[in-house]
């Protein structure tokens, strides 16, 4: 059980972690509703080191998407701070690139124009930005599809366009909200491999929000497990699987043990969520 860290210990970055890039420091988010305030995220702390891959996992409705919006600067924080490279976040930060769960490609732009979008906003000259965009299109393995429109691509390909578009802005932190949730299992695994490979190549720091245990274990160095309502830290699990990883490890015993451990913690929270949902539909 030496790969478990108790929540109170993580206010300090773990010794093993490299220099911290993202610091989530005692963050709370309350929503004002007509029935009084609702706490969605309750006192969560987490640091993510340079080049690290960290996942946040929790049952539906635990506030992980709220946390995503807080880190992304799309929502304001009620208490606590989030800092990236020492800078407090208020509003979308240039060092953070976001990938969303839904299909977020612009249907009126070709693949290459979608990927060039952030460079266009920066005012980069056309030739240069197309060249840069072409590089990132190849990086996600879509070479040859530059002139296609999103409607002509599969869901998995569209999500890769979104990832390439976000990477084209060269963010220090790649922040992803269940990017593979809308895809089928096999595409999801293959896309996970692709993300791992890109992360390796760019030494990209990644914070992934997910509800998929296999995905979290397959990709992450550490997994933060959230409780159901209010969203608190239940545990942070260290995943000490060797890198480079691929989806082929899925069958190994160690992998299975990590999955079982995370599920053991998650199970209680998920069943609370389910009971809540059943009560609600009555």
């Amino acid at each position: 059980m030496n790969d478990m860290i108790r929540p109170e210990q993580i206010a300090q970055p773990p010794v093993t972690a490299p220099e911290p890039m993202l610091v989530i420091d005692h963050v709370t988010k309350r929503f004002e509703t007509p029935d009084g305030p609702v706490v969605a995220v309750d006192n969560i702390s987490l640091t993510v080191g340079r080049g690290e891959f960290v996942s946040i996992i929790g049952p539906s409705g635990c506030g992980k998407s709220t946390l995503f919006n807080l880190v992304g600067g799309l929502l304001s924080i009620s208490d606590g701070t989030i800092r990236i490279d020492g800078e407090a976040i208020n509003g979308p930060h240039k060092s953070i690139g976001m990938v969303f769960q839904e299909d977020a490609t612009f249907p009126w732009r070709t693949v290459i124009d979608n990927v060039a979008f952030p460079l266009e906003l920066q005012g980069m000259a056309k030739g240069e930005r197309l060249e840069r965009a072409r590089h990132f299109v190849s990086l996600v393995g879509l070479h040859g599809f530059e002139k296609r429109y999103p409607a002509e691509l599969s869901g998995g390909m569209r999500q890769r366009v979104s990832i390439a578009r976000t990477l084209a802005a060269e963010p220090k932190l790649l922040l992803m909200d269940e990017p593979f949730a809308a895809l089928d299992e096999q595409t999801r695994l293959l896309l996970g491999d692709k993300v791992l490979q890109i992360q390796q190549e760019l030494n990209q720091t990644v914070l992934l929000i997910t509800h998929n245990i296999t995905e979290a274990v397959q990709l992450s160095d550490r997994v933060l497990i959230m409780t159901y309502r209010p969203g608190r830290t239940k545990r942070i699990a260290l995943i000490e699987l060797p890198r480079p990883r691929t989806s082929e490890m899925l069958s190994s015993d160690t992998f299975g043990r990590y999955v079982a451990e995370v599920w053991a913690d998650l199970r209680e929270e998920a069943s609370r969520g389910m009971q809540d949902a059943e009560r609600g539909s009555r």
Partner: protein, 260 residues
């Protein structure tokens, strides 16, 4: 519904069958008309035979009278679409852009939209006179509502995710408008204008049939009063062909440039 049509691979024999059926339907309608004309069940003047109508069409298209009045009507429709379209666009943008405005005013637009506009014509005559002014006003009022509602709905139907993407890349207000909002609503807006143009055309032509001394609508009524039935039918055919052609051209415009 259209999807099923495009998904099936066009087979040559099937295409031919569709074409044959279409020709058969049109031919039987024409034959039915001709037989009705010859049967004497109705006055022959009321249901003129196809040769008379064809002759009427030829007569119509070779006189300058038709083109002079076509020009008048086209000008009125254009002016009406411009006035109604632009004011409708502004109203739609302010309704769609603000939740407050939507709740405050949209219901009035929504419920006034499908009322019969032609009954406002007596007021238009009072305000803008019996000339072109009242026809343009009639068309503009008709055009205003569908455009306003389409623009408001189009603005609201932009997937929120695309706006979040823009925000996540820290696009400024101008970039948001030009690179996210406007391209995302292009299709509903063009469709709204198309709809608006269609009702402006109806508004102008109906107003002309009611009270006017120029324009295609006036010509129709003049032919009716002179009991020149072949001439009237020829005119109606010409008006329909023009309306359908313009509508098709605008439809192409809304689909052009982008694949879905």
């Amino acid at each position: 519904m259209a999807a099923t049509g495009t998904l099936t691979i066009p087979q040559k024999s099937k295409m031919d069958a569709v074409l044959v059926l279409r020709i058969a339907i049109i031919a039987s309608l024409l034959v039915f008309w001709q037989l009705l004309s010859m049967s004497g069940l109705l006055y022959e003047d009321v249901v003129p035979g196809l040769p008379q109508i064809t002759a009427g069409l030829y007569r119509l298209l070779t006189t300058t009278e038709f083109y002079v009045n076509l020009k008048v009507t086209a000008g009125e429709i254009l002016a009406a679409s411009l006035i109604g379209g632009l004011t409708g666009m502004i109203a739609g943008l302010s309704l769609g852009g603000s939740y407050f405005m939507e709740r405050a005013f949209e219901r009035y637009f929504y419920y006034l939209g499908p009322t019969p506009k032609i009954i406002f014509f007596p007021l238009m005559i009072m305000w803008f006179g019996v000339g072109s002014g009242s026809k343009v006003a009639m068309g503009a009022v008709s055009c205003f509502f569908p455009v306003a509602l389409a623009v408001a709905a189009g603005m609201r139907r932009i997937p929120p995710i695309l706006i979040r993407v823009g925000e996540s890349f820290r696009a400024n207000r101008w970039q948001m408008l030009t690179k996210v909002h406007l391209p995302a609503m292009r299709e509903p807006v063009v469709n709204g204008f198309r709809l608006g143009f269609g009702v402006a055309l109806i508004g102008v032509l109906l107003a002309e049939t009611k009270l006017s001394n120029q324009g295609l609508g006036f010509l129709v009524i003049q032919n009716y009063q002179r009991f020149d039935m072949p001439g009237m039918y020829a005119l109606l055919i010409a008006i329909f062909v023009i309306a359908v052609a313009v509508n098709a051209a605008l439809g192409r415009l809304s689909r052009g440039g982008r694949r879905r």
